[in-house]
């Protein structure tokens, strides 16, 4: 069982998001970088599948040279090898991204690394276009299940579960297939120190992808109102208890 996970380097935006002066990117001067929580679950799932069923795991990204940091992070979780399509740092539109990924996957196949299962995060954490995985599946002519929160491998097929309000949709598709996953699929592990050190010695193959003429253009970003940290003081000491209870009820945890 060979599993390929696609990830994207994105800024960690725990605080207020600040845009660059041209409003076409997030100001990342003070920010660290990561992959999205969806993708973290995808990585964890790939490692678990390989642990359970054997086979190899590969991580693929398209991004700037610095994205090697994120590749190493996934290698520390247990992915075997990484493929890096190195860009000049500009953000690619989903169509171009998908085309480059498809080309890379075709090259993987030609080199004998044909993935049985390709996983994406349901959407990227920054631009959230919700389409790269679907475009790749379409181009490769493989079935695609989106928004997946449960994966079981069996008999050359993959059983995928989507969570709906109060129920589940289950899709059982033949391999090879593409799935886009959601946070909550599993609880990703923290990498150990030895795993981090091992990750630094694992292979990362890099190449420069060809960029197709973009037909989609990012014009401007806007920060949604109300985002960022909002703390409300509910009260102090024992007197705050009723307000806390009210809030718990509202959140559905009490």
């Amino acid at each position: 069982m060979n599993v390929l996970v696609c990830v994207k380097r994105v800024p960690i935006t725990g605080g207020k998001i600040v845009l660059t002066p041209d409003e076409r990117a997030i100001e990342t001067r003070h920010l660290g970088f990561t992959i999205s929580p969806h993708e973290e679950c995808g990585v964890e799932e790939a490692v678990r599948i390989a642990e359970r069923h054997g086979g190899s795991t590969t991580v693929l990204t398209l991004g700037p040279a610095e994205a090697e940091e994120q590749l190493r992070d996934t290698l520390a979780i247990g992915i075997d090898r990484a493929v890096h399509l190195v860009t000049d740092g500009s953000d690619w539109d989903p169509e171009s991204t998908a085309a480059a990924l498809v080309a890379a996957i075709e090259a993987e196949r030609a080199a004998g690394h044909d993935p049985d299962l390709i996983m994406f995060g349901n959407e990227s954490a920054d631009n959230g276009n919700y389409q790269v995985g679907i475009r790749v599946a379409h181009a490769l002519g493989r079935p695609c299940v989106t928004g997946v929160k449960g994966i079981t491998m069996h008999d050359g097929r993959v059983r995928c579960e989507q969570e709906l309000g109060g129920g589940r949709d289950v899709y059982d598709v033949p391999l090879p297939a593409v799935v886009t996953v959601l946070e909550g699929l599993n609880l990703p592990r923290y990498p150990s120190v030895p795993a981090k050190l091992r990750a630094r010695r694992k292979p990362v193959e890099s190449s420069e992808p060809a960029r197709s003429e973009p037909r989609l253009e990012l014009v401007r970003l806007t920060v949604p109102p109300g985002r960022g940290r909002q703390a409300e003081v509910l009260g102090e000491g024992a007197g705050a208890a009723p307000a806390v209870v009210e809030l718990f009820k509202k959140l559905g945890v009490a």
């Binding site: 960690i12 935006t13 725990g14 605080g15 207020k16 600040v18 001067r29 003070h30 920010l31 660290g32 970088f33 940091e69 190493r72 592990r189 923290y190 990498p191 150990s192 120190v193 030895p194 795993a195 981090k196 050190l197 630094r200 960022g228 940290r229 703390a231």
Partner: protein, 839 residues
């Protein structure tokens, strides 16, 4: 939250460990209307306190830092937020073991006990998850503790609030600090303005920005300290407390490992220095965690993970133990590694309490609060006085260069004589080119390059064969040369010239000049023009604020000459005591005058070849100064000596310095004149004469009587510290400054060892000596006395031991060496009658 009040007796900016401590201690000292501001939320506003590792190792080679740490420990204990867990500094190398033996001495000198050296097997018993095969031993301090610095801060604020003395306003940012004629007048915030004449900046890494608002400087740089938290650790699964095992400092890799509940925290000072610009720290809103918890840069931490894995494979090597938290935490670094405390020299009423870590925070807070209240703290903080810097030491480039160099020495083996490598060659005397031709070995003093000895004097070693010995142990010989002793002997036989341009020189002038110097100086300054006064400068409680010389150049002009290291603080002290009516001024002339010292039995022969003025003993007696014409220059000559020989300090404007040097050199060569370095001036010559040095023998915790300098009568005029001084004269001193000689240098391994200073003086069987004020005896200065053929130590001893001939011992590298009290008091061991100086 309270609204911002319109006025305050004092505004404390910052609610980290220091600001909270200040609020508490100012209130305890009777201050009211204290307003404390922070731009962040409480209890963790997002500064360095919030992510501190919060452990405290009490033993440091610095007496001041140890005293502050011990005081902080007492305070943390009083508030019930301290857990003692013990700590072990482990050594991977023999060189480090030697350093740990040196730490044993510091622990004894500063009274931090019990401590002990442990074998790897003993360490394994205390820290079962360590791989003892990679270490050779360790230094165990059972008193190492972990504190809750955030809780401490809350409790201290609450105490001041309950006393009705404090208003705390969080989430409000300071936008301006108003000044008028060099004094603080107000603080503007995002929520309104506060009228006040006193502001304390305790804002950690942001402090430089706030100081700049008032036109002042707090020279620190934010720097990264990386740490990770790994867990859950199976061995700690049933941990009942946050810390149950000793904290390990892996000294040789610049790292520490400590249990934190079910996790293990691994921190490092080993990575490349990562410095930040305070203006570039993200805002609270923009920060993912907090402004001072910056994104982790793992590439800088790879080696550290390897090292942690080596030392604690059971935990760090466990595949189930994950890295759960990793940050580049910001902390404050300064050019010399010491905090920035006291009133800023630029703005009256603007105080700094910055570059302080959790381990010394409450102690610093108490000290600064006392300083603000009484004019001096109980614990001497003069080495941390923010007024200590010269303008060239406050530049961003200098601060960054030294902070970068100092960062990796956080756990370093730092020799007492160690020199900085970066930011050198900034201040050059006019003699510099000549000194280079003579192969001077330069040490730095207050930014100046100063010859410590001259390699070209190596030929003198043969002249003094048998009296000048090399030192066998590399540590004792580091930053030292036997040439120093040869230069010393050549000076005593013939003459030597010294570059003393690093002196800080300033004039006090005007109709109020006499009143000013009388107020500051302990000794009588109303003397005839042409007299040189050597005087202590006292703190209000009668301790030493400084010691310096004052030349009365004319009726209304007093020229103050003081040591370079403390010169800027002295300048501020005089400026602070100028009369309110503007009738006197101080003028800094440090960069206007150079100083050439000429001493030795042939000094008069040499100088008389350059001048036709009367410089005979009768014509130019000791302790006199006057202008003479020499070598075609107008030279201010001052007949004093710090090395115990006949001679003068010669002052000329800096552009004429090279000419003076050449003339003296040419004239002196037939007399056997040599150039000599500060190794002679500051150590060998000085120690043979028993001259006390500020910052070594003299500080605010010792008084004039104890220092043996209470000669003459107390002047009638008032001066700072007079009342205390009179009282001290009327009672027996608790300690007496003594000169001791080392009787036997042989170590157990047969190597002759030479103490370098700060070692404990003990009884022959190793018991510490403690005086009536609870102070321990330790070596304040150590060095060769080539003319007396002994290694000399200076130390304050309790009176019952301060008897000539008393047999004691000094501890060095965890061994004891016999010493004898040679002199109790100020009589020099060399030339006790001072006949050379007065010849």
């Amino acid at each position: 939250m309270s609204p911002v009040p319109g006025s305050a007796r004092v505004v404390v900016i910052g609610a980290g460990i220091v600001g909270n401590g200040l609020a508490c201690h100012l209130a305890r000292l009777g201050w009211t209307d204290i307003v404390q501001l922070d731009k962040g939320p409480l209890p963790n506003p997002g500064g360095s306190t919030g992510h501190a590792s919060n452990f405290i190792y009490p033993v440091d080679h610095s007496r001041e830092m140890t005293a502050l740490t011990l005081d902080s420990v007492r305070q943390y204990k009083d508030f019930g937020v301290l857990t003692e867990c013990g700590g072990i500094e482990v050594a991977r190398t023999e060189e480090r073991m030697e350093e740990l033996r040196r730490r044993m001495a510091s622990a004894k000198s500063w009274g931090v006990e019990p401590v002990s050296l442990l074998t790897p097997a003993e360490i394994k018993e205390l820290v079962p998850y360590i791989d003892e095969s990679v270490i050779v031993g360790g230094f165990y301090s059972p008193g190492v503790s972990v504190v809750d610095s955030l809780r401490m801060g809350t409790l201290m604020r609450e105490e001041a609030q309950q006393a009705g003395a404090l208003t705390v306003v969080a989430n409000v940012e300071v936008t301006a600090i108003g000044t008028e004629r060099g004094r603080v007048t107000s603080v503007s915030t995002t929520d309104g303005d506060i009228e006040t004449d006193t502001v304390v900046i305790a804002a950690g890494v942001w402090s430089p920005l706030l100081a700049r608002m008032a036109g002042a400087s707090i020279p620190l740089t934010p720097a990264v300290h990386q740490m990770i938290d790994i867990g859950p650790v199976p061995r700690f699964e049933n941990a009942k407390a946050a810390i149950e095992y000793p904290i390990v400092r892996d000294m040789d890799t610049n790292m520490y490992e400590r249990q934190d509940g079910r996790g293990l925290e691994v921190g490092s000072y080993a990575h490349r220095p990562i410095l930040h610009d305070p203006a570039e720290i993200p805002s609270i809103e923009e920060s993912a965690l907090s402004p001072t918890e910056m994104p982790f840069t793992e590439d800088d931490f790879v080696q550290q993970m390897e090292h942690a894995l080596e030392l604690m494979p059971e935990i760090v090597g466990d595949e189930s133990v994950g890295v759960k938290y990793a940050i580049n935490g910001l902390l404050s670094l300064t050019p010399d590694g010491l905090p920035l405390l006291g009133e800023t020299p630029e703005v009256r009423g603007l105080w700094s309490a910055a570059a302080v870590w959790v381990k010394e925070g409450p102690g610093v807070a108490r000290g600064v609060a006392e300083w603000m209240t009484h004019g001096e703290p109980e614990i001497d903080l003069q080495a941390s006085d923010i007024a200590r810097f010269y303008p060239c030491q406050k530049t961003v480039a200098h601060v960054r260069a030294r902070a970068a160099e100092g960062f990796n020495k956080t756990y370093g083996i730092v020799h007492p004589g160690e020199q900085w490598e970066s930011s050198r060659g900034i201040r050059l005397s006019p003699f510099h080119a000549r000194e280079r031709e003579l192969d001077a070995v330069f040490f730095e003093a207050a930014g100046w390059e100063r010859p410590h000895w001259y390699a070209s004097n190596e030929r003198l070693l043969a002249d003094y064969d048998g009296r000048v010995k090399p030192r066998e142990a590399e540590w004792d010989a580091r930053w030292w040369s036997p040439i120093i002793n040869a230069e010393h002997l050549a000076m005593r036989d013939r003459a030597a010239i010294f570059d003393l341009t690093a002196f800080c020189i300033f004039d006090v002038t005007g109709p109020g000049a006499l009143a000013t110097v009388q107020k500051v100086a302990m000794r009588q300054c109303d003397v005839p023009v042409g007299r040189v006064i050597y005087t202590p400068v006292l703190t209000p409680r009668g301790g030493f604020r400084s010691d310096l010389t004052i030349m009365r150049l004319d009726h209304e002009t007093f020229r103050v000459v003081t040591g370079g290291a403390h010169g800027m603080a002295d300048l501020k002290w005089f400026a602070d005591h100028l009369p309110e009516d503007g009738s006197a001024q101080v003028h800094d002339l440090t960069s206007a005058w150079c100083t050439l010292g000429l001493w030795g039995p042939r000094a008069r022969d040499i100088l008389s070849g350059l001048t036709s003025d009367d410089i005979s003993h009768e014509g130019f007696p000791f302790a006199r100064c006057r202008e003479i014409e020499a070598a075609g220059l107008r030279v201010l000559a001052s007949r004093i000596s710090y090395v115990g020989d006949l001679g003068w300090e010669l002052y000329v404007p800096i552009e004429q310095g090279a000419h003076l040097w050449d003339a003296v050199w040419e004239e002196g060569r037939p007399h056997g004149l040599i150039p000599a370095g500060i190794g002679v001036y500051g150590t060998t010559g000085r120690l043979e004469k028993g001259y006390r040095a500020f910052g070594f023998e003299l500080d605010s915790e010792y008084d004039v009587v104890e220092a043996g300098m209470a000669w003459g009568k107390v002047k009638d005029e008032d001066f700072v510290g007079k009342e205390a001084h009179v009282r001290q004269r009327g009672s027996d001193p608790a300690a007496i400054m003594c000169t001791l000689t080392v009787d036997d240098h042989k170590s157990a391994s047969g190597v002759e060892r030479y103490m370098l200073g700060r070692e404990p003086i003990v009884t022959p069987d190793g018991a510490p000596l403690v005086d009536a004020k609870g102070r321990r005896s330790f070596v304040t200065s150590a060095g060769a006395g080539p003319s007396v053929g002994k290694h000399l130590l200076m130390a304050y001893l309790p009176p019952e031991h301060a008897r000539e001939g008393e047999q004691l011992a000094v501890e060095y590298m965890n061994e004891r060496y016999p010493v004898t009290v040679a002199v109790a008091g100020s009589t020099p061991i060399f030339d006790p009658e001072n006949s050379r100086i007065r010849s």
